[in-house]
């Protein structure tokens, strides 16, 4: 259950016994988690499993019912929200957006855009960007504050696999260059960032966590997930620390929220076992 790792005091963000309730609904209960400097942590879980609430709680956007979040003093967080609905009524170029709310110089803005691979977009209107372009612009804005941790809520939602792989590769590069920690949220239970140091599976509580088991050798998997992605996508063997009575009778309702994907997930896992 415990997400604690590293020595006390060195963690960037540490949460103990987090419980968030909205009305009568318990969104997350007794979640403990710690993110250390330079770490890449991926939180996976089905829709409605409380991933976004957990992230929001870690940043301080979500009122806690119980528990505590300790952020290292003066911690610089680069946050990329789940959805940025750009109202077409608000004219806003990418360049102008980067200066919100803190003004940045043209040189800084250009460098950040170039680093996230969208150097040419400075004069574009935000509302005209594709989903993938917008995520890279949001990432550019996030790195402008020279963050110690990047927190991204489902950044690859709506991207195709090549796009996701490219985005994950970019995050890994950023970590390698600057030592920034990365906390990612994904609803995709079986495809996660291969550079993740830890995967945390959340479904209201922490089901399980650990290093991702990269299945790379078998050609079937390369065909499904690895091909053309430069190895940036990996399979995570989704194992719970408790037994399942029935394949479709999961006590945490993974299946209900995640029907088709979960089928393929299990399917691939079986093949993994066959191939291995």
């Amino acid at each position: 259950m415990s997400g604690m790792s590293g020595e006390p005091g060195v963690s960037l963000i540490k949460a103990a016994g987090l419980t968030v309730r909205r009305g009568a609904v318990t969104v997350i209960s007794a979640v403990s988690i710690a993110i250390d400097p330079g770490e890449i942590v991926t939180i996976v879980g089905p829709n409605g499993s409380g991933k976004s609430s957990l992230v929001r709680a870690l940043i301080g956007l979500e009122p806690l019912t119980q528990g505590a979040v300790i952020r290292r003093e003066g911690l610089r967080i680069g946050y990329v929200p789940q959805r940025l609905h750009i109202d077409a009524g608000l004219p806003m170029t990418v360049r102008r957006f980067l200066s919100l709310p803190r003004p940045v110089s043209d040189a800084e803005a250009d460098a950040a855009l170039a680093r996230t691979g969208v150097a040419a977009l400075g004069r574009q209107q935000l509302s005209r960007l594709s989903g993938g372009q917008l995520q890279r612009v949001l990432l550019a804005r996030a790195i402008l504050s020279d963050p110690e941790i990047l927190i991204l809520d489902e950044p690859t939602q709506g991207m195709d696999q090549t796009g996701s792989a490219g985005f994950y590769r970019l995050l890994a590069e950023l970590r390698a260059e600057t030592g920034v920690a990365v906390l990612l949220v994904s609803h995709d239970l079986h495809v996660v960032m291969s550079a993740s140091d830890r995967i945390i599976c959340l479904n209201g509580h922490i089901c399980c966590e650990g290093a991702p088991q990269v299945v790379s050798a078998a050609p079937e998997y390369r065909a499904l997930f690895g091909l053309g992605t430069g190895g940036a996508l990996a399979l995570y063997r989704h194992e719970h620390d408790h037994a399942h009575d029935h394949e479709h009778d999961h006590e945490h309702d993974h299946d209900r929220d995640h029907g088709p994907t979960d089928h393929s997930h299990r399917h691939h896992n079986h093949e993994a076992e066959d191939a291995g």
């Binding site: 940043i59 946050y79 004219p91």
Partner: protein, 262 residues
């Protein structure tokens, strides 16, 4: 050389546009049009209270508009239930104001001056109010500009940057209450929202940045005021509504221009 009353009317309209441009842009971006309407309608109750207590009209309208603005903020704004409550509050306040005026003993006031404005009767005293109020609104918006824009774009981004979106919203509704008090003499309570929204919507068609849209809205507002005043004299029409008609005309013109350009 135009008559002095006309110069005063023009100056008042320009003063209002200076604040209404940027504020109206936020109203458009945040879809607060109905909140603007509610605040404006409620101000008639303020007029009634001011007349009954012999306080200055501006004091009455500012007070009631502010009370309305705070009530609206407390409701939380965008939800459907809040929308209904807003409608109940706004129209009740308007009706209550109209009824209340008739109870003031010995008073024979033509409320239409407050419902539709009486810009041609603007005094020097009014001018000071209009320009003073507008500059305060402008200063408030300028001070909170970056935070307001960030919170308008995405509340989570604003929160993550250490801003409090509720505070930014509060700044906006206070500005709205002030602009109602400023504008009631010029276009009247019923048409204030029009002067916020129509110039901003017109400017939107040609702006590439929020600042350009705000400045453009002020420009369109000034042209609307001057055009409306001219039309009012030329065709002997009521000034306040004529200003809004001029604004609407510019909006349609802008649409046509935008379509041709595309």
């Amino acid at each position: 050389m135009p008559d002095e009353f006309l110069i005063r009317a023009g100056l008042a309209g320009i003063g209002l546009s200076v604040a209404a441009g940027p504020l109206g842009s936020f109203v458009v971006w945040r879809r607060m049009a109905y909140i603007g309407d509610a605040t404006a309608h409620a101000s008639i109750l303020g007029v009634a209270l001011a007349l009954a207590t012999s306080l200055p009209i501006y004091a009455g309208t500012v007070t009631v508009a502010l009370a309305m603005a705070f009530a609206v903020t407390a409701l939380g704004g965008r939800g459907h239930a809040a929308d209904t409550v807003l409608g109940v509050l706004a129209h009740s306040a308007l009706a209550l104001g109209l009824v209340a005026v008739s109870f003031v003993p010995g008073l024979r006031v033509d409320l239409s001056a407050y419902l539709f404005g009486d810009v041609l009767a603007v005094s020097r005293y009014d001018l000071i109010w209009v320009w003073g109020g507008s500059l305060i609104i402008l200063a408030l918006l300028a001070w909170r500009w970056s935070g307001l824009l960030t919170a308008t774009l995405n509340e989570e981004l604003a929160q993550a940057a250490g801003l409090d979106p509720r505070r930014e919203k509060l700044a906006l509704v206070i500005a709205l209450a002030l602009v109602v008090a400023v504008a009631i003499k010029i276009v009247g309570a019923l048409l204030i929202a029009a002067l916020l929204i129509i110039p901003a919507a017109t400017a939107h068609n040609m702006a590439r940045s929020p600042e350009a849209m705000a400045a453009g809205a002020t420009g369109v507002g000034i042209v609307s005021v001057l055009g409306g005043l001219w039309g009012s004299l030329r065709f002997d029409t009521p000034a306040g509504p004529s200003i809004v008609v001029a604004a609407a005309f510019l909006f349609v013109l802008g649409l046509a221009f935008g379509t041709v350009r595309r």
